[in-house]
Symmetry: C2
Subunit: 420 residues, 2 copies
């Protein structure tokens, strides 16, 4: 019998305990041994939890417990779980965590701490989709050329509603909040930070890049408007919040932002709260992994998969490599990105303005792929919508700065990156 202790018995923790009990027979058939949840640590012992395990309000009762073989960390936060996970590993206990923030900041220290003790984290990225297993194991023969993921269900739900129904950002946000898909303060989701944490984890497995959230471009969907959505559709794109890791000759780009992608690509077809991760390997080509990115039972499914792996005696290095993965490959700076761009400007509706704007783009060596002029709701103004060919991000940034200084151009210029 294998005994599991759980740090944090909220929605996911409760699902883990329940599934281990309710699906106990099939899990035993697969793992080879019975797996039993024995104790859970919670902050507030008075809260009713409807789960059939002993409860404590002291995490030490779990991580120092001689009766516990595997510790499941579902506390949330960064520094507190880091201490408890470290202590569990020191006690020789295998650990499973679903905590992406913890890993975004401490995955390399944790790999060091773990040594040969298993530390698994399938649930930390894309919830129930076994994408970490795919990247760590299934695609191990490949140099990874790119990862593009829809890894935040809240953003994807909101964008889907905006695209399919023409709903406005504010309305879908309010609705997402009332449905429980978005928090009262939605910044962590709609600002791209949640997706960025997940991207950093995948970036380590694919490229061995030791980066922190502050090292990469993180933008959200707050500025996406109906005009953008309509233009995108007109030109054959959908808009998705993508987390992207991508290698070129110079290094690895890592970034999270709203992105226009061709409607016919598989990842563009992922709607609603679902998640998907597309991985391009140099040998396998494109693979894509799709499923629920959140929810108690879906996340618990991934947590238990890790527990089963541990019980089977499987391990391998925590981040999928021992040393020298893609040696010499470095994270590129935020302005070293190369992409295609969509630009939206509001300008005076008078002769010569289009020429002035396009010649300014030309000055920076930015080559225009398509252009559309649309009436503005403001009298005497029009909207200019451009897409560019591939160009360096710093050129776009400089061009946007200079354009915004022109008398005939409104100060606020929108930019959305395009990936093909």
């Amino acid at each position: 019998m294998v005994k599991v202790g759980i740090l944090g018995v909220g929605t996911v923790g409760r699902s883990v305990a329940r599934i281990l009990i309710e699906n106990g027979d099939i899990i035993e058939a697969r793992a080879g041994r019975r797996i039993v949840p024995v104790i859970g640590a919670v902050r507030n012992l008075d809260k009713k939890r409807d789960v059939d395990i002993a409860l404590t309000d002291n995490p030490a009762d779990v991580v120092d417990n001689e009766d516990v073989d595997i510790v499941v960390e579902l506390m949330g936060g960064v520094e507190e779980p880091y201490r408890w996970v470290g202590r569990a590993l020191k006690n020789g206990k295998a650990v499973v965590t679903a905590n992406k923030a913890l890993l975004a900041y401490h995955r390399y220290e944790l790999q060091e701490l773990a040594g040969d003790t298993p530390l698994f984290y399938e649930a930390s990225v894309a919830g129930g989709i076994p994408v970490i297993g795919a990247l760590r194991n299934g695609l191990s023969a490949n140099h990874i050329e790119s990862i593009e993921g829809i890894m935040n269900g809240t953003c994807n739900y909101m964008l889907t509603r905006m695209i399919k129904e023409g709903a406005a950002y504010e309305d879908v946000l309010a609705e997402a909040q009332s449905l429980g898909y978005a928090e009262a303060d939605p910044t962590f989701d709609v600002g791209g930070f949640d997706a960025a944490h997940k991207l950093l984890i995948l970036g380590s497995i694919a490229y061995g890049i030791d980066a922190k959230p502050e090292d990469i471009v993180i933008e959200g969907i707050e500025n996406i408007t109906q005009t953008d959505v309509e233009f995108a559709r007109e030109f054959g794109y959908e808009i998705k919040l993508l987390a992207i890791a991508k290698r070129n000759e110079k290094g690895v780009e890592m970034r999270v932002h709203a992105t226009m992608i061709p409607q016919e690509s598989m990842i563009a077809k992922v709607d609603g709260v679902m998640n998907a991760v597309s991985v391009m390997g140099d040998r396998v080509g494109e693979t894509l992994f799709y499923g629920p990115g959140a929810g108690g039972d879906a996340t618990a499914s991934a947590v238990i998969a890790d527990i089963v792996e541990i019980v089977r005696g499987n391990s391998g290095p925590m981040l999928g490599y021992k040393k020298g993965l893609e040696s010499g490959l470095k994270l590129l700076g935020k302005d070293e990105i190369v992409s295609q761009y969509y630009l939206k400007l509001k300008v005076e509706d008078k002769p010569g303005v289009l020429a002035a704007v396009s010649s300014k783009l030309g000055d920076f060596g930015i080559s225009i792929e398509s252009m559309l002029q649309k009436p503005s709701r403001v009298e005497g103004k029009v909207r200019l919508l451009f897409t560019t060919h591939l160009c360096e991000e710093k050129k776009i940034t400089m061009a946007m700065e200079e354009l915004s200084r022109l008398d005939v151009v409104d100060e606020k210029i929108s930019m959305i990156r395009i990936e093909k």
Copy 2:
């Protein structure tokens, strides 16, 4: 250093040897040890192979070779590879195979033979997509409710062309043959047998069902016409060759056939030669795995992933369970299937015919979901197209038999199953 011997150095075998060499550094970083291909067995030593390993025409030089740690079986066929794989296992060598036919017939004997020696087979289903890993490991917390897979790229390519371009079956088959997607004798692909072999493997991992090809419904796409495709689209369906394993209260249905599926489902969006497998777990919900189902490098990517797992010391039971997986769950007979159905009849264009046909369906308790009458190319005839609500397959079979005996109905009635 880990030494690999290869039985069968064709397209995939050559890719395995080449990738192990060309991506040797990154594979070593992930596996923890250098993996080197050392010898390959071929039928004809005179053929040029452009691969840098020793060659022999005696498989015993590979499986009995003290220098070989892992044997990769890529010979094709059933009984011959079964003997060599058995001998390799007996010699204590770990084995990786991509041979779905071998596993369709001998997976349980092989699991027995292997014991604790690793025998991996990720490449046998859906080529480069790590779907066996997902099912064996990533979804191990779940009772599997259903598996629906597009697991034959040839059929999917042909159906996509028929759907998107209105091309006729014969024309796309000829084209698929000229592109090398289909064999001169295409029966194995278009008749559904290839997909069935793969389904049997997944059925073991998901349900522990020990079945052979002859035990399950296997139909192909040979009878799909443009009328079917057009009707399907009109009613919001795509037509795909699906391999389906599905549990209900009575047992497990396993079947391969052309299937109408709702256009908005993810698997309906899989076009061309690509493969995808949708798995419904009782806890995780729907997950889907998409990618290339064939090709030398893509298949080799999966073979090498298995080798890396073996080198890392990972194993677990070959079919994902030790004993008692879903105990008591049995394979349902071919006529115990429950589905929705599309029926296409050619009938006399005269009063009372529609009533006669629909009342005959009513006699069998078959309830009609939608109906469409279309002109036929034959003078004095019309086409009747029906879709039914859920009903037992034996009722449909009997109804079709009786309908075909009516004077006003042409003998040949087409049926396509519908899955939602």
